[in-house]
Amino acid sequence: MTTAPVETTTYLCTGCPLGCRLEVDAVEGDIVEIRGFDCRKGERYARQEHLDPRRPVSTTVTIEAGTLPRLPVRTAEAFPKDEVMRLVRQLQAMRVVAPVARGQVVLDDALGSGIDVIATRSMAADPEADAGDAGGDPQRARSSAV
């Protein structure tokens, strides 16, 4: 019988300005020891970061007929880190139409995660914008309408 090797991973704690260097020892994926933390929060962070790292994701999506050409959005809760780029790519291909209310779901159950993507501001329909044309270059459509 051979003992599986201990794998050590290090993380920079984000809890406070101290920025503790956290070390997580794992054997076949199971955490056996966490070192380097200076408080309970640090230990919890190391465990979460090792087992299931997540990130809040914010970006913008195209909005048609709005007062601005971009609508800021975010995930309603932290999103699995490894899926962030895929989510952002999907949002880049999206379009929504004004008006939009803050908190409105623009993409539900993103990538099957059970997490929604919501608008982080309200945006009225721009009376000057033409919804049909705004897709190409909304700023230009607005400008040339003046």
């Binding site: 300005p17 101290l18 914010s58 975010r74 009225a124």
Partner: protein, 427 residues
Amino acid sequence: MTMTTQPRHLASYYDVLVVGGGPAGLAAALGARETGAERVLVVDRELEAGGILLQCIHSGFGLRYFREEITGPEYAERSLEQALESHVDVLSDAFVFDVTEDRTVAIMSPTVGVATTTAASVVLAMGARERTRGAIAIPGTRPAGVLTAGLAQKLVNLHGYLPGRRVAILGSGDIGLIMARRLTLEGIDVVGVFELMPHANGLSRNIVQCLDDFDIPLHLSTTVVDIVGHDRVEKVTVAPVDAHLTPQLDRSWDVACDTLLLSVGLIPENELSRQLGVRMDPLTNGPVVTSEMETSVPGVFAAGNVAHINDLADWVSEEALIAGRAAGRRATGQRVPADNIRVLPGRNVASVVPHSISTDRVHTLYLRVKEPMLEDSLIRLGDVHERKVRALVPAEMASIKAAPRLLEDFHGDALRIDAVPAQEVTT
């Protein structure tokens, strides 16, 4: 925003007029209403109020002020809702170009033209501007493609344009770190962040989530020593610096890029304050303020980044509430005891706001340290009180409360605020 009602006419008088509709201005207006001011006007120069928060689409705001972690646009919209619900008037696309000592305020706006009004109290809440290339004197040519991180953020997040294809970032302030991630998400190649100091200037959370997550290198003790390009940036030359921050040119290397973003700090925007003749503090680059956030010109108050650069919008809102409440009290003839203690920055303290306090009520003092203190530290109020903190870094603001029972001995005196290692005190 849908609920904005743009006033068509300017009244000839306001109880409180607030210059700037960012988090400071909106909270100040709310504070003024709380203490009984009837007619409160916020004048904002953008098409919609909310300030820079509208372009800060990332989360990390609101934990203190709204008890919930939200993004900049949400924070802005909620602040605006609060103000409008309490019947504050907000005039957008309008700029205050002059304030006189008798608080006559000159405003320009396409909707009201050029007009003046007077106010019993004026709150200065113009925010901050970014330090520029000129301010840090980077040698080289002057091509297109050198811009502040905040301008890039505006172009990308509000207007949907990209500042370049291959971007280097000078300065590890939070805006620069946030933009490193933002541009990466937009498919732009961020080739590195270069920081003059031996330590990062942003929050460690942003180092991890904005740089490490995307394998963007952070070069500490390194700076840009040359910008090359005729029409557009073609490359920058970077070099490590020695302990005196002098670049070691023999160890320099070239970084190919078409864009250089600058994230090298904020400066309180006080053109209007200077025009008015408000007394300034060279340590904060903001007005000297009382515990009521009143400047040296009676009836003129300062709130938020105008007074000193804050690290969190939440602090700005809290402090602006104080300023707004005081402005409202003054407008409605209420009084509070005048300050009787002068506050002085002491050991390793770069600046403290407010500049004076009084012995009769509880005050919060906001401060920044000069040198990082990465060990258990104490913020000390004279020799009467101390607060233990885990670490103090220049990038983050710290605060300490001062209560009447501690202050009595300082009546008519100066109170020194020090930041000292805890170990030094116990041994």
